[in-house]
């Protein structure tokens, strides 16, 4: 079941998404499997059989509703009771990036495209604050908002077959980090030594929806030291 808050990915909508997510995390209802926050919606996964059995055991007079009606009712109650302004301050995560060289083969291209120097691109990219709207596409991959349009660059015409984990890239007006090695068409500008996907930890990702991240440049030497 999907709870929608309009179709604009803005801060106000994001706060509503976070408030519902926070409530569901703290008060999961019986039969709920999980919830998935996105730009403008929260998707709630439920087990219809579990909901059916729960409702059946509670309603004595044989008044059995369909599981989706029961979940709809539960979610409406949650939405009605939800108070504005319950969203906590976002956690800020600082991510080191070694820009350029073999880690960022498209850095010069992005600079040229925008009539900037390579140092300008690094300085603009590493001075922004980026909001993690949601995770998706790959484990721990953040959909980030807030990139400066001065360093935007279209995707490559032909995607690369494999982009190493930790690579930082730009696609259109978005920046992102590849948590695991995947094919992709982004313009690559650097690489972080931080791991974004941590399968043995709880939560299994460095970032969560609602975090704010900033990038800071590190040297090749610092990158190597970090990896060790």
């Amino acid at each position: 079941m999907v709870i929608r808050f309009g179709d604009q990915a803005d801060i106000e909508t994001h706060h509503k998404v976070r408030a519902v997510s926070k409530h569901l995390a703290e008060h999961p209802f019986e039969g709920m499997v999980e919830y998935i926050p996105a730009f403008t919606s929260v998707t709630v996964v439920y087990d219809p059989v579990a909901i059916y059995l729960k409702d059946k055991s509670r309603s004595g007079k044989g008044e059995i509703r369909y599981p989706f009606e029961s979940v709809e009712r539960t979610l409406k109650k949650i939405m009605d009771a939800l108070q504005e302004g319950t969203v906590p301050k976002p956690r800020v995560v600082k991510i080191p990036v070694c820009y350029g060289e073999e880690f960022g083969p498209d850095l010069e291209h992005v600079a040229e495209l925008n009539g900037l120097s390579v140092d300008d691109v690094i300085s603009i990219h590493s001075s922004g604050e980026y909001l993690v709207y949601m995770l998706g596409f790959a484990p721990g991959f953040p959909y980030l908002g807030g990139m400066d349009k001065r360093i935007s660059a279209p995707r490559k015409d032909t995607p690369r077959l494999s982009i190493p984990a930790g690579t930082v890239g730009i696609a259109g007006e978005q920046t992102g980090i590849y948590p695991i090695s995947t094919p992709g068409g982004w313009q690559l500008i650097g690489r972080t030594p931080s791991s974004l996907f941590l399968p043995h930890k709880q939560p299994p990702t460095l970032l969560e929806a609602g975090n704010v991240i900033t990038f800071y440049p590190i040297s090749r030497k610092e990158y190597e030291e970090w990896r060790e």
Binding site: V2, A38, S41, Y66, M134, G136, F137, P139, H200, P204
Partner: protein, 335 residues
């Protein structure tokens, strides 16, 4: 006890009901493609229903059982045999120690499920034993089986032991394996076949599509394309056209979501789908019919039929009652 792999088959992976609870972190669900066959196989060997099974694709493995075991094979018929004698599907089978279970190529269907009493014993990662190939986690060392692997099996349940004892007692001397005279009723099985009719619900962006295209979706024939895999089934038929071009922000998708990329050829998302997608969703395959798709081979033709959410949930509840009935019947037969 473990199972020694002589030949791995085309793509054999350990799967359970899937890695739920982590989609908000972008971690895909994975799990058995045919949930019905996976669960039925488990129930037949006295398991509770969601223990890890081996999903075998089109060409099955050759496996040696180091100790005696009770197994069940459900789903696709990958021509299993022991000592030259065909092993029947959809029923518990007792295998003596040292027996070699040979699968061949598919006679019918696409994915076979092998359950062993107790369940396959690989470590849990993020609450699941399912293999997530791209990230290399879960299952057997995060990958598909290879020759010389040793796949550990857990201790059977009490019911599993009773099934083993029950079948063994009635086995005749010199038989390569033992089994029972009954199997899961055909009426209980999903309507597997070469030309399945798959029931669908309207998708979140159904209204983005032309009236004519929706008619085509509900009546035309679609062919399963060669690029289809555990991630998604690519279909080709009459291309589906949108009324107007709109951009969609990425949002969650699920098992059975039918999304339509710009070329108009629908893709049905399957067990290894990404958690989110940015293509408009024209339809959603009902849970009870996902096994039909999971067993459709490349080149088979399928049709879609619209149903209401009420109907879909009734069908799903019936399917789950059927499985409960199966569990009870097995217990009554052996206890």
């Amino acid at each position: 006890m473990s199972i020694y792999v002589h030949k791995p088959g085309l793509l054999s992976t350990v799967q359970d009901g899937g890695r739920t609870g982590y989609q908000q972190y972008g971690v895909i669900v994975s799990g058995a493609m045919d949930h019905f066959a996976h669960q039925a196989a488990n129930l037949l060997v006295g398991n509770t229903g969601d223990e890890a099974t081996l999903e075998m694709t089109v060409i099955g493995p050759v496996l040696e059982f180091e100790r005696a075991a009770v197994i069940a094979v459900c789903g696709a018929d990958l021509s299993p045999s022991i000592g030259g004698k065909a092993v029947p599907l959809w029923r518990p089978v007792y295998i003596p120690a040292g027996a070699v279970l040979r699968f061949g190529s598919s006679r019918q269907g696409c994915r076979g499920y092998l359950a062993a009493a107790g369940g396959l014993n690989v470590p849990h990662q993020m609450n699941s034993r399912s293999t997530y190939l791209r990230a290399g986690i879960g299952g057997y060392q995060g990958r598909s089986l290879q020759a010389e692997d040793r796949l550990p099996v857990q201790q059977p349940t009490e019911l599993g032991e009773l099934i083993a004892g029950g079948i063994q007692a009635r086995m005749e001397e010199g038989e390569p394996f033992g089994t029972v005279g009954w199997s899961v009723s055909y009426e209980m099985l999903p309507d597997y076949g070469k030309h399945p009719v798959i029931r669908i619900l309207p998708g979140a962006q159904q209204s983005w599509f032309e009236e004519e295209s929706l008619k085509d979706l509900h009546s035309a024939e679609f062919i399963v394309q060669p690029q289809s895999d555990r991630m998604g089934y690519r279909l080709a038929g009459k291309p589906l056209h949108k009324v107007k071009q709109q951009e969609l922000l990425s949002e969650p998708v699920t098992f059975g979501t039918v999304q339509v990329p710009p070329d108009g050829n629908p893709i049905v998302l399957m067990a290894d789908r990404q958690t989110t997608g940015g293509y408009p969703k024209v339809a959603q395959v009902i849970t009870a019919d996902l096994p039909l798709l999971a067993q459709s081979q490349i080149g088979s033709s399928i049709r879609f039929q619209p149903v209401t959410l009420q109907e879909a949930q009734e069908i799903q509840l019936m399917a789950s009652l059927n499985l409960r009935f199966l569990r009870k019947s097995i217990r009554m037969y052996f206890v």
